[in-house]
């Protein structure tokens, strides 16, 4: 089972990156300005890169015969086998919604990868070393936009505040400990998500204050279960789109 926990832990990290890259990829040609098509494309590209490294490694640790590669894992798993948090699978909203989501997610990833630099899983530590710089930029990009939108016009302030409310039910899941993470933390492979929460909240509180925004009240409900493959109903549509071509040509190379 310890092997499975290790795999599941890596899949959780990889699926977060993959699924969020998928949503960010939808922005290309739809961004508010061309510079932002590029910037969001960059973030998505970094995340695809992280996903590829993490899924490849997950497949190696799993050691199935034959070994499942990044595409086997991305394109041929069923919805219940994906271990990403529900935050990243939510449909694209307006630009404020995306910046709220990116702020939380990149801040979480930044703390996560910083902690993983010392992972006993050397491949994972290597991924983290590269990724921590990438997500530092992502966090900064989101921060700059949250400041601009929060302290821009009345409309942008209202939209940004509404976006924080919309995203809020999904952020608790980022800090929820699950079996695979508990195993990983015990073995020095990974880190307990809950151990990152204070640093994440501190950073975000700082940004929101400077942006004249307020952290919303505790939401009436919150998302749970992504790490166990329980997703929201939008996930199936996302996977249908992502996997359809690959599944339409079984065994083909691309």
């Amino acid at each position: 089972m310890s092997g499975q926990h290790h795999v599941d832990y890596l899949l959780g990290l990889g699926d977060d990156a993959l699924v969020y890259a998928q949503r960010l990829g939808e922005w290309l040609t739809h961004a508010p300005q061309i510079e932002e098509d590029m910037a969001l494309g960059n973030v998505a590209l970094d995340l695809v890169g992280q996903a590829r490294a993490l899924l490849t490694h997950a497949g190696e640790v799993e050691g199935a015969d034959p070994v499942r590669d990044e595409d086997d894992l991305a394109m041929l798993r069923h919805e219940r086998e994906f271990r990403n948090v529900q935050l990243v699978e939510q449909p694209r909203g307006d630009f404020a919604h995306e910046m709220a989501r990116l702020l939380w997610f990149a801040t979480y990833q930044r703390e996560l990868y910083a902690a993983l630099l010392t992972s006993t899983d050397e491949t994972l530590a290597g991924v983290a070393a590269k990724a921590v710089k990438e997500v530092d930029y992502h966090r900064d990009h989101a921060t700059q936009w949250v400041l601009r939108l929060g302290d821009g016009t009345q409309e942008s302030h209202d939209r940004m505040q509404a976006a924080l409310v919309a995203v809020h039910p999904y952020v608790a899941e980022l800090g929820e400990d699950h079996d695979a993470a508990r195993w990983a933390a015990e073995h020095g492979v990974g880190v307990l998500p809950s151990s990152l929460t204070d640093a994440v909240n501190a950073y975000i509180s700082g940004v929101l204050e400077q942006a004249t925004l307020t952290l919303p009240d505790a939401p009436r409900w919150h998302a749970r279960g992504g790490r166990e493959g329980v997703h929201s109903e939008v996930m199936g549509y996302l996977l249908a789109e992502m996997q359809h071509l690959h599944r339409s040509h079984p065994g083909a190379s691309w």
Binding site: L28, H30, D37, L149, D151, E155, H246, H249, A252, S253
Partner: protein, 317 residues
Amino acid sequence: DALAEYFDGLIEQDQRVEPRDAMPEAYRTTLVRQMAQHAHSEIIGMQPEANWITRAPSLRRKAILMAKVQDEAGHGLYLYSAAETLGVDRSELLDKLHSGRQKYSSIFNYPTLTWADAGAIGWLVDGAAIMNQVPLCRCSYGPYARAMIRVCKEESFHQRQGFEILWVLARGTEEQRAMAQDAANRWWWPALQMFGPPDTGEHASSGHTAQSMAWGIKRFSNDDLRQKFVDMTVPQAQKLGITLPDPDLAWNEERGHWDFGAIDWDEFWRVLKGDGPCNEQRIRTRVEAHEEGAWVREAADAYAAKQAARRQPEAVA
């Protein structure tokens, strides 16, 4: 006058005209229109390929495609910047695109129906674009020439990537091979049309070719570029094992060129005038993105103004 003489001298000596130099109004107008159209083509040209980002068949292909579409956004930005050196504003040019007063390359009015189209666009459309653009690296207007050098380098990278997509498909399953062939069938003729109407004959347009050539904005005629493209592409198709959809394609020993069949210029004009499969969709997508982003751009401006005011509190007080 002296200014006109100076300009003519630069052109004659094949030297670069720079933004600070005096230049004829018609030269300026022609360049702005051409650079804008070129920039618009990069921006609109993102759409057909972006259509496959979320559906790319492997993560490696997804990454390559995202990077490519991003590059196109970058090319658009270089080119708008180059146009701005002549005193126009990007937002003004975008308005003209959105309202249909400025065009983009009509090739992007065709849909990408299968994954192989991402390959065919790289191979044929970027291939044709490079053929058009390489001479522009020696364009008389400095900022344009320098933008093109940068663009061309990336475009030839894209062209190779497109070729490679088709290469893999052409060596894949029967269905993949059919997909590659189908894409070539649909993109070949529109790619040939990318060089514009013929230089002579009933379909020739009353364009500005002669003047543009004299000004060093254009270096080769449409038909010359088209022939160069055919000559370059036919051997590549052979290497791929793809049949180009032209029964008249034949090596002409005498000319030392490939002969090719008649282009359907009626279709060209029809699509150019708006009756193409995606004209409306491309502009609608672009306009929607722009309009939905208006509040974001306004917020960024408002924030920048506040920040500037904060940096100079005494000026405000």
